[in-house]
Symmetry: D2
Subunit: 161 residues, 4 copies
């Protein structure tokens, strides 16, 4: 698709479609500033203040872009938010040069993802050897529990790769 084709297609878009496009453009612009990948920026995932040092909190607005045919947030996207929250927390905890991989993740769905936004609260349940066992709860803006998840991560120490 050339720039010209894009411009002419935009002329035909509804206001709703323009919103999705704006979301993409904002993501592209934000990722230049915050150096985070496209997806988190597209989903609008942002860190939130947390009163509790043992937790990491981030949130995501609920837009049409993440709704499934029943008009609730895709289960996979809620899982993605939880995965991002746990990964983000982990990045802060491990030393700068180390990496980590997800070994597995378990998601229990309690309530449909609806409302204005989803808030994910991650915590470390246990850390031993190079294994991080984490958990993350996702709530909606009425503070109802949407999903509870657990994740197991393997820290890859720099010297051992």
């Amino acid at each position: 698709m050339t720039k010209q084709e894009i411009l002419s297609q935009i002329e035909t878009l509804s206001d709703r479609d323009i919103k999705a496009l704006a979301r993409t453009l904002n993501a592209l612009s934000n990722m230049k500033e915050n150096k985070y990948p496209f997806l988190g920026n597209f989903l609008g995932v942002v860190e939130e203040d947390s009163e509790n040092e043992t937790e990491f909190v981030c949130s995501m607005p609920i837009g049409r872009e993440v709704l499934n045919p029943y008009r609730i947030v895709y289960g996979g996207i809620t899982a993605t938010l939880a995965d991002m929250a746990m990964g983000w927390m982990l990045e802060r905890r491990i030393s700068g040069k180390d990496k980590f991989v997800t070994l597995d993740m378990n998601v229990n769905y309690h309530k449909a993802g609806t409302g204005k936004r989803l808030i994910a609260t991650a915590r470390v349940v246990n850390q031993a050897q190079d294994i991080w066992q984490m958990a993350c709860d996702v709530r909606n803006d009425r503070d109802e529990l949407v999903v509870t998840t657990t994740g197991t991560f393997l820290q890859l120490r720099r010297g051992k790769e």
Copy 2:
């Protein structure tokens, strides 16, 4: 963001950014035709032929849009693909007016999501009462196992809602 603001921002975009924008525009255009939600169209998830009647297969191209900071597909997105495959298969199996909800999902990550595309193969492991227990394997284009997942779904019968 107005149409005018969008148009002027587009002028400044790199070729790479244009690709992401084209993906969004294609998704908006495709969803008018296939009536599927934005996300599946944005991710480019399409059904694939399957030789086996007991399976449902779909695939997703790997674009920059779904890569995490390590340049591999976000674990949550691979999980989303598997969730979509199981849900899509389920839609075909349950009667037209019924709905379903995901109760839980378990994902084991085996290999980094890299390459050109991911292929998800879903199957029904067991069905009893209103419970569907499904599984989905995701492989890359070199036929390597990327994740194995299981999902439990509850069928909501129309008359009972």
Copy 3:
């Protein structure tokens, strides 16, 4: 094995073996009183007082009978304790004639099961339709987290069977 064979074999047993035998005999005797199945009685699972109405607590002594080759409690037995705790709590919550089945269970192992006993604390995370989503933490007698588990249960209503 006849009673006579049993009696003569007992003569050859060490003190340690006698303990296992006593455990079996106690279980057989207790199950006549409490009407619980053999296994829970053999494992010595007993209900504990709980200050919190939203929780159900039970415990199990750690005997040689449940140790694996590394001399820690078998992971499956710790899972069994958690499953029993959730099931026991559920029995108290559903109406007398209904039954339930376990749909799935996820267990994260944090610490080896050692010490004098394991204490399982179960709670209901969410209840909707006929689905009970529960969780159970198991701690040792030094209050260290041994496993965290989640379980999904389907209530079978009497009239519908």
Copy 4:
């Protein structure tokens, strides 16, 4: 309980109780020969021939000792059988001095555990770094799927402890 007390209690036992006692005595006697822990011997878990080198198969008879109040095998015991099968297979695969720990286990229950015995078939799904990702299916003697499980194990290399 002294030997004398045991002997006098045995006199009062029913034929059914004698069976449970015989199971205990057999377990105590077998563990002296095969050096396996009590529990596997008590449950009667034995290795089975497998045609397939990539699998490990073992089985367990269904006795009254493992039945829950609904007269089906305790979910936790079926999980224990699967855990033992995966662990047994792993022991064969890792070098003699290394140990392993279970990180997590996921169990999906498909059918009630009934019939004469349960047969567990374990396999390695993926192995990388010190992580073993395994799966185990348990079937009844009518070849019906009772549970499917996955387990993640961490190999502890001898030199690193």
